[in-house]
């Protein structure tokens, strides 16, 4: 089974991306708190999708389709941290409790009613 060097690089990048998605999903299941889950899944999203689509770009070469894939990567790298930040902020404002007692969420949870 003969593979060119470009296909080997693409396969390694796709496997790394799937690995980072696996790490993000493990974080989503195992972590005890909404804030920790946001933290884990934002990184898993960004790195996993970036590596998978970078592997697809390497496999395709310089075409218009790889330009579209680069557009998807840029868009997700802008929007995924934004969405994670907004979800975390809405959880904080609506008073979702943290798992460890150090964060004074209960004192500030009334702010969601004012603004």
């Amino acid at each position: 089974m003969l593979m060119t060097l470009r296909e080997i690089i693409a396969a390694v990048l796709v496997a790394g991306g799937v690995f980072f998605f696996l790490v993000g999903v493990i974080g989503l299941i195992r972590l005890p708190d909404i804030y920790m889950r946001v933290h884990a899944t934002a990184k898993g999203d960004t790195l996993g999708l970036g590596l998978c689509l970078l592997g697809a770009i390497v496999y395709l070469g310089f075409t218009y389709t790889s330009l579209k894939l680069l557009l998807i990567i840029t868009f997700i790298w802008i929007t995924s941290p934004t969405a994670a930040h907004l979800i975390g902020k809405s959880a904080y404002r609506t008073g979702v409790e943290a798992a460890c007692g150090d964060i004074p969420v209960k004192d500030i949870s009334g702010r969601g009613n004012q603004t």
Binding site: L28, R37, I72, F75, A84, V96
Partner: protein
Amino acid sequence: MIETVLRAGGYILIVLMFVCLWRAGVGPSVPDRIVATNLLGTKAVVVLVFVALATEQLFFVDVALVYALINFLTSVGMAKYIEKGKLS
């Protein structure tokens, strides 16, 4: 060979999507469900790109681009809705 890698990665991602669906069903608070849905949509984008490459039908990449846009819009809308009680 690269088709085998893409197909195996797609199967693994579909299994992980079902795991995210479990978190979206079980999750104790509403932001848990939103996080799980966001991650599920990102995985769907990657699965669409893999389908486009494995079946040599490259118009699925356009579908993946539009899906990424709608996924971000869903997350932001749900976050603003549970925070303020309205969408404006």
